[in-house]
């Protein structure tokens, strides 16, 4: 029977890039979305996560496991730490939004380009990268960071094509890196646009998460 991968997220914007990543890297998997918009709606102005939200997230991830998930991917940048906390008591693999991408990035090099469309995401992903490096004893890496804030309103208004083009144009200024990573799950479809320019590898959170979950559940290299 096909594995069930449940994608838990605070926003429906993740659906097109995850669909594309699954079609490309794991078409046989049964993917199930579980989306709760209250997770973002209740973030404070300072983007701090409250105890109530942590409890909600914990509840939601356990629910996803109870509903038959063989593996869970959490697709939302703000919640890396609480997801890592919650998964300790969950019996199936749970990935935070970025960990598969960060692992793949360090496998590709030490000079890493990071492109996001939100300063908050940049903060989160930078913290996640630092945590990963420290856990794995990686020193001497360098981040080349760009926040393309103008692209964010485009995707929120439904202009995915315009968003992807804008992101690709910005990525052209980030050629001199070993690997480029895209900080938002919702930037996943922009990768195709960026890759047309050639050059360094481009990693996205949905693609790396799907590939890593496949390796974990099937136990084979993909």
């Amino acid at each position: 029977m096909a594995h069930r991968m449940t994608v838990v997220s605070p926003m429906a914007l993740v659906v097109p890039p995850v669909d594309a990543a699954v079609a490309r890297h794991w078409p046989e998997v049964q993917k199930v979305y579980l989306i709760d918009e209250s997770l973002y709606a209740d973030l404070g102005a300072d983007r701090q996560i409250t105890a109530v939200q942590e409890r909600r997230l914990d509840t939601l991830l356990h629910y996803a496991a109870d509903c038959g998930a063989d593996g869970i991917v959490f697709a939302g940048s703000v919640f890396g730490a609480p997801v890592a906390q919650a998964r300790r008591t969950i019996g199936v693999p749970v990935f935070t939004a970025y960990e598969a991408m960060i692992e793949a990035a360090f496998a590709a090099g030490r000079r890493i380009g990071v492109l996001t469309t939100s300063p908050w995401t940049m903060q989160n992903i930078t913290a996640d990268i630092a945590a990963y490096a420290s856990e794995h004893g990686i020193t001497g890496y360098e981040l080349v960071k760009t926040v393309d804030e103008a692209a964010r309103p485009m995707i929120l208004d439904g202009d995915l094509v315009g968003h992807d083009r804008k992101v690709a144009a910005t990525a052209r200024g980030m050629a001199d890196v070993d690997v480029l990573i895209l900080g938002q799950f919702s930037m996943g479809t922009a990768a195709a646009e960026i890759r047309k320019d050639g050059g360094r590898p481009v990693l996205t959170a949905p693609e790396t998460a799907v590939q890593a979950m496949r390796r974990r559940l099937e136990g084979t290299p993909s």
């Binding site: 659906v15 049964q30 199930v32 989306i35 709760d36 629910y63």
Partner: protein, 229 residues
């Protein structure tokens, strides 16, 4: 009420989300729309037999979770489950609106000659059944004209031809002049509904906007009741 009312919209498919969001912007911008999507409901459902107990349990769980997230009222957008939702909502502490009831109420407010228009037979039958149930419960001598716009569903799903889909629906709606109200069975039909030129006195209704208006009546009615007590 100082804080914005929060409406949690529980959906088994992501198709409904954009339509609901748009309807909130148009009809009730003060209402805070929070979507709660769980595709496992359909993944584990038995569409030919009884709804499995796990799916029933999950629906109640989702309602309670939504209430725990601060919902003042909830809606469920998967019309296949409508009869079940009418049963399960009795178990929870906040009002739950099914996907068609706002539309059906507005339809009967216009008259008893109700047209149901769909692009697929299953959705037509679900809506027609809900209309009949409502008429029976309210003692209304319903005259029902339930139709399918042949080929419309295939045009949209098979060939991604939105223009042809909308054209077929508008043409079929044109044959329903005798109806006091035309009710559109699918969330994906909203754009076509806007192109239908209703005859004077006839209303053309879609589920997303009528669901939002129903939620507003429910919440504001409860608020007025609480203020009067």
């Amino acid at each position: 009420m100082s804080k914005r009312p929060r409406l949690v919209i529980v959906s088994p498919l992501d198709l409904a989300l954009a339509a609901i969001g748009k309807a909130f912007k148009e009809e009730w911008p003060e209402g805070e729309c929070v979507n709660l999507l769980d595709e496992s409901l359909y993944a584990d459902n038995d569409f030919h037999g009884e709804t499995p107990q796990v799916v029933r349990d999950r629906i109640v769980w989702l309602f309670n979770y939504g209430i725990d997230c601060g919902a003042d009222a909830l809606a469920f957008t998967g019309s296949v489950f409508n009869p079940l939702i009418r049963e399960l909502r009795k178990k929870v502490s906040k009002p739950v609106v099914t996907s068609f009831e706002g539309m059906i109420e507005e339809g009967f407010a216009a008259g008893k000659r109700i047209g149901v228009l769909s692009s697929a037979p299953q959705a037509r039958d679900v809506l027609a059944a809900d209309v009949k149930t409502y008429a029976a419960e309210h003692g209304i001598a319903l005259e029902l004209d339930a139709r399918c716009a042949d080929g419309a569903f295939e045009a949209l799903q098979g060939r991604d031809d939105r223009a042809e889909h909308d054209r077929l629906i508008v043409a079929e709606a044109g044959k329903m002049q005798d109806c006091d109200a035309i009710l559109f069975a699918q969330f994906s039909m909203g754009l076509a509904a806007a192109q239908v030129s209703a005859r004077p006195g006839q209303v053309v209704l879609t589920a997303p906007v009528t669901t939002v208006r129903k939620l507003r009546r429910v919440v504001e009615g409860a608020g007025a009741k609480a203020a009067a007590e």
